[in-house]
């Protein structure tokens, strides 16, 4: 419990921790903002109805050792800025798994050193996203419960398609494309991470992603960077079109209730749609596929209603503690300026650069001019 105070940003989350029990039954692992207290089980009415799972044979809320999920915190209107974290969070929301979510901006705070990471009730730490989802499934939070065998096979196939075609482009868009990286990605990470990590960690992450992309695509024999890029984006556009065709006019990929495939697809699409990218070639194509956009906004509004409304939390959180410290900071600033001035004036007086003249009291005007002349001579 104390851990959530340290890691979850902003006072609101800490205050919300006592509402954990309330929210566990409602199927959200994330206590909402402080405006929640009066509100009864919030509108997970639609979410619960639409939600396939929680065939949870276990006893009521908060009975067991809770599963803890560490993930990147939110930004750009999304609950998390990282693809894997977003996928896992979405799956958890779909299934109503009672996760205690720690949104952190420092990967070293996670038990495995990487994000996302799931700490199970037995203290085991899992950090590969699809293994996290598999674990949740084993704990009976299964969004694929109602899928037929063939739909399960389709899930695997489409997941492979996403990984082969969309993932390289996502990495390229956010981490390799210079404009995007400098103006969006690095900016967010550098602002969100604590000192002194913000100096070197984004750069290191970029190098890791670039290497990964190189290994993923290097085998296609790139003649040069631009051609490889064009090819990648071409395949990604095709992939998006395929997804759009497969989704058709349904609400989710397999009917009316979300499944794990929806979590994966949502992760990719949400990042591509929501982040304000200066050079968003794929974004333009994606915006043209209306059913995918509607799908994204539908899931966001249904399962992450307050995350979208809050705007970019990481920008708020630095402001939060700042406003608290503001009076002290201002006072410190004023004091330091005064101290500086005093030091300068004192030095000037002592070293004779500036000297204070003691003027003698006034005599008769006639003699004054003489004495003034004398004083002038003295000086």
């Amino acid at each position: 419990m104390p851990l959530s105070w340290l890691t979850t940003p902003g006072r609101r989350r800490g205050a919300g921790s006592k509402h954990n029990a309330l929210w566990k039954t409602c199927g959200s692992g994330d206590p909402p903002a402080a405006r929640a207290p009066g509100r009864a089980p919030r509108g997970p009415g639609p979410a619960q109805a639409a939600c396939r799972a929680a065939r949870n044979p276990r006893a009521g809320p908060g009975a067991q050792d809770p599963l803890e999920l560490f993930c990147w915190s939110g930004g750009w209107g999304l609950p998390s800025v990282d693809l894997d974290s977003l996928t896992v969070l979405t799956y958890a929301r779909f299934t109503g798994a009672p996760l205690k979510v720690h949104k952190v901006t420092n990967p070293w705070q996670s038990p495995s050193g990487t994000l996302p990471a799931l700490r199970t009730g037995h203290g085991e730490v899992i950090s590969v996203p699809h293994k996290i989802i598999t674990h949740l499934r084993k704990e009976k939070y299964n969004a694929d419960y109602d899928l037929s065998a063939r739909q399960g096979a389709d899930t695997l196939a489409f997941m492979s398609l996403l990984e082969e075609k969309l993932l390289p482009v996502l990495i390229h868009t956010f981490w390799v494309d210079t404009k995007n990286y400098v103006e969006v990605t690095r900016k967010w990470y550098a602002e969100a991470m604590p000192f002194p990590l913000n100096f070197f960690l984004p750069g290191r992450m970029q190098r890791q992603f670039m290497e990964r992309l190189q290994l993923l695509c290097g085998e296609h024999g790139p003649e040069n960077e631009e051609e490889l890029e064009k090819e990648l984006y071409q395949e990604a556009r095709e992939c998006l079109t395929l997804l759009s065709q497969r989704l058709g006019s349904q609400k989710f990929f397999f009917g009316d209730a979300p499944a794990s495939l929806d979590a994966y697809v949502f992760g990719y699409l949400a990042l591509l749609l929501q982040a304000k990218l200066p050079s968003g070639k794929l974004q333009a194509h994606l915006r043209g596929l209306h059913n995918l956009c509607a799908y994204c906004t539908h899931i966001l509004s249904l399962y992450f209603p307050w995350d979208g409304a809050e705007g970019p939390p990481p920008r708020q959180t630095p402001v939060g503690p700042e406003t608290e410290e503001e009076p002290y900071r201002r006072r410190n600033q004023v004091l330091s300026v005064l101290a500086g001035l005093a030091a300068m004036v004192g030095y000037a007086l002592l070293s004779g650069i500036v000297s204070i003249q003691r003027t003698t009291p006034a005599r008769a005007p006639g003699t004054r001019s003489l004495s003034m002349a004398e004083e002038d001579e003295e000086e």
């Binding site: 492979s160 082969e164 085998e219 065709q245």
Partner: protein, 267 residues
């Protein structure tokens, strides 16, 4: 292939009909070729047979280096060289032969997705087994891969390739997997394929498509290649409809044609 080159090739390709002397290059069948390359080559052969296009298989020790993308197999048609199943399918389509024209959009999407599934899981598992499993590497792969070359080149090339493959495995997250987990993944993949196939003769009912060719290539190779142990082929044998599927394609497209130039019984 770059986009411009692709468009250019398609244009040229469309102009000429399929010649009689089209050849497919792969490594030496008896001594050199490895599981994954054999699977890829068989997939292309199956695809071309399904399209009714004649092809002659030629084995060369340096096929990997001749290929424009570094992967086998590649085909030499007219004065063009195209490698790997994806580009070959497009090339053949430009010439006017296609197996997937009858599919609607959703089915095409599914077909592409399943092809990626096979590439993602089966092919990667084959590569893992060949290059990251120490017993197989020691007993089979090193010897086979370097067999056409004199000492010490055979060792150097084999180690170099192994290092490359291991790096790639790490990049995609397979570096820390154990053999059991990999076999588990193969089982999942076969289960997915089996469920998708169901009781139909081919994946999209009556007519075979490139997906059928690809699946046949991989499964048949797994079933008929002798490795240090039989675990991989056992996983496939669990699914009877996949076995029937392989048998059906073999009978239909390889035995009946009577083109004895390449027997598809792997070593």
């Amino acid at each position: 292939m770059s986009l411009v080159a692709e468009a250019f090739v398609s244009q040229i390709a469309a102009a000429e009909p399929w010649p009689e002397n089209a050849t497919l290059y792969q490594q030496l069948k008896g001594e050199q070729i490895l599981l994954s390359d054999n699977a890829a080559s068989l997939a292309v052969q199956a695809f071309l047979q399904m399209c009714n296009l004649p092809i002659k298989v030629v084995c060369r020790a340096n096929a990997e280096y001749m290929s424009p993308s570094g992967k086998v197999p590649f085909i030499h048609v007219g004065n063009q060289v195209v490698s790997e199943l994806g580009p070959i399918v497009q090339f053949v389509k430009a010439k006017g032969h296609s197996l997937s024209d009858g599919l609607d959009e959703v089915q095409k999407a599914e077909m592409k997705a399943y092809m990626e599934l096979v590439n993602n899981m089966l092919l990667t598992a084959e590569l893992y087994l060949q290059w990251c499993d120490e017993t197989t590497v020691g007993e089979i792969t090193h010897a086979r891969y370097g067999s056409p070359y004199p000492w010490p080149l055979n060792h150097i090339l084999a180690y170099q390739k192994q290092w490359e493959v291991k790096r790639k495995m790490k990049a995609i997250g397979w570096g820390n997997k154990t053999l059991d987990q990999v076999l588990e993944d193969v089982d999942q993949c076969c289960q997915a394929l089996s469920q998708r196939l169901g009781t139909q003769p081919y994946f999209f009912n009556k007519q075979p498509t490139e997906l059928d060719a690809l699946v046949f290539g991989h499964l048949y190779t797994i079933l008929t290649t002798q490795l240090t142990n039989d675990e991989l082929s056992e996983k496939v044998k669990n699914y009877s409809n996949l076995l029937a599927f392989c048998r059906r394609i073999e009978q239909h497209y390889f035995e009946d044609r009577g083109k004895g130039s390449s027997s598809i019984r792997s070593s």
